[in-house]
Symmetry: C3
Subunit: 163 residues, 3 copies
């Protein structure tokens, strides 16, 4: 009896820990990318993970590492840049997770800051031996294109990004 | 002895789960409202729940559903819009919860984004058979009116929105 | 056997509770400071805690209380102000914690809002008899100065702010 109760507690606890781990990975993206830690950012993804942004499609952690090291990204850091990744809504099912949030890219401009992009973020993660890793992160700018609102809703429902 | 310890663990775990559920409901508002999912947004509230915004008072989930479907709101989605609901501070007591956070309404404007509103958010929720539902969400714009700062402080203290 | 399992569960649960408590303290800063609750803000720090901002170094909770009461800060509240403290990345080790996040200071300006500052936030907290309290919070504006990105990376790694 007690053994069953304990097993149920362990399962509930494991779910909370999984959600914490996913949230923690997501919360580290902004500080690491604005900190220019290319290895740290790349390590959030599975080796074959994908970062699918509107204009660019980064296939594999190595491409993501190069993005952080690129002159364009380093230029943002020198200019002053905050990638603010909003509070996540997370759905864990077994060894897979879907999360959704907004992100704001805030950059310095003549002594003030401007919001350069407001973006819908859809994340798919999986449990690996090295912890939860991003399989696919799909970002679509919120500029009226219909796929961005659709991406947000699919994320809350725990559905994959694509149709 | 062990039974007592296990019961104590179960109670602590249940509190963490309640806080998680409340945070998850709050984190789904922004994606659902920017996603135009009127039914999803309305389902965050109890059927008789209230969304009390500065200019408008939405009494009942059906009014909230209509707000999402309104030409005004649909226009924001087409223009490009992010309702960023900040990290919540949550107080759960039994079957009731109070939460507080900031929200930013970020809208597209001539290729960049502007922060149209920065708002104090006070949430009251209750546990129902369908999970935690919003009873009253009170939003007051942070423009110097004294009620907005007061609302933030009452939220942190777990007090109701009104005096 | 069950006793061991239960003890393991208690330890894992205690870690989640610690992380929750740290996140909750951090999530209360913005609402309390924008709410003008000087005592509430000061109580987030240990009595000898430090708030190290770019231009000012506040040593001790009493200095922090005075900052909230200052004409400058009260002026921001009257003008309309949101200190949005982003989702935290938290590392708890025993009785010490390190957390990192972004913050945005959003102020009203001619009917709209502008982002006045985007800042790297590094928090050190410790467990006290009165709960988790801030020992040192180090804020550096993200304007291209090299210490701000470095602060973000050290925060994710759970390292102290200073070199």
């Amino acid at each position: 009896m007690s053994e069953d109760r304990l097993a149920a507690v362990e399962a509930r606890l494991a779910l909370l820990e999984d959600e914490r781990d996913v949230a923690r990975a997501m919360a580290s993206y902004g500080p690491l990318v604005d900190g220019g830690d290319a290895d740290g950012v790349a390590a959030l993804w599975a080796p074959d993970g994908v970062y699918d942004i509107d204009e660019i499609f980064l296939a594999g952690a190595e491409r993501i590492r190069e993005m952080v090291r690129s002159p364009a990204h380093q230029g943002w850091i020198r200019q002053g840049c905050a990638h603010v990744v909003g509070p996540p809504h997370i759905t864990v099912e077994g060894d897979a997770a879907v999360a959704v949030c907004h992100s704001l890219m805030v950059v310095r401009d003549e002594g003030r800051y401007v919001v350069r992009r407001a973006t819908a973020n859809h994340w798919r993660l999986r449990r690996t031996e090295a912890g939860w890793k991003v399989v696919t992160r799909t970002n679509r700018i919120l500029d009226g294109r219909p796929e961005s609102p659709a991406l947000l809703v699919r994320g809350v429902r725990g559905e994959p990004a694509g149709p």
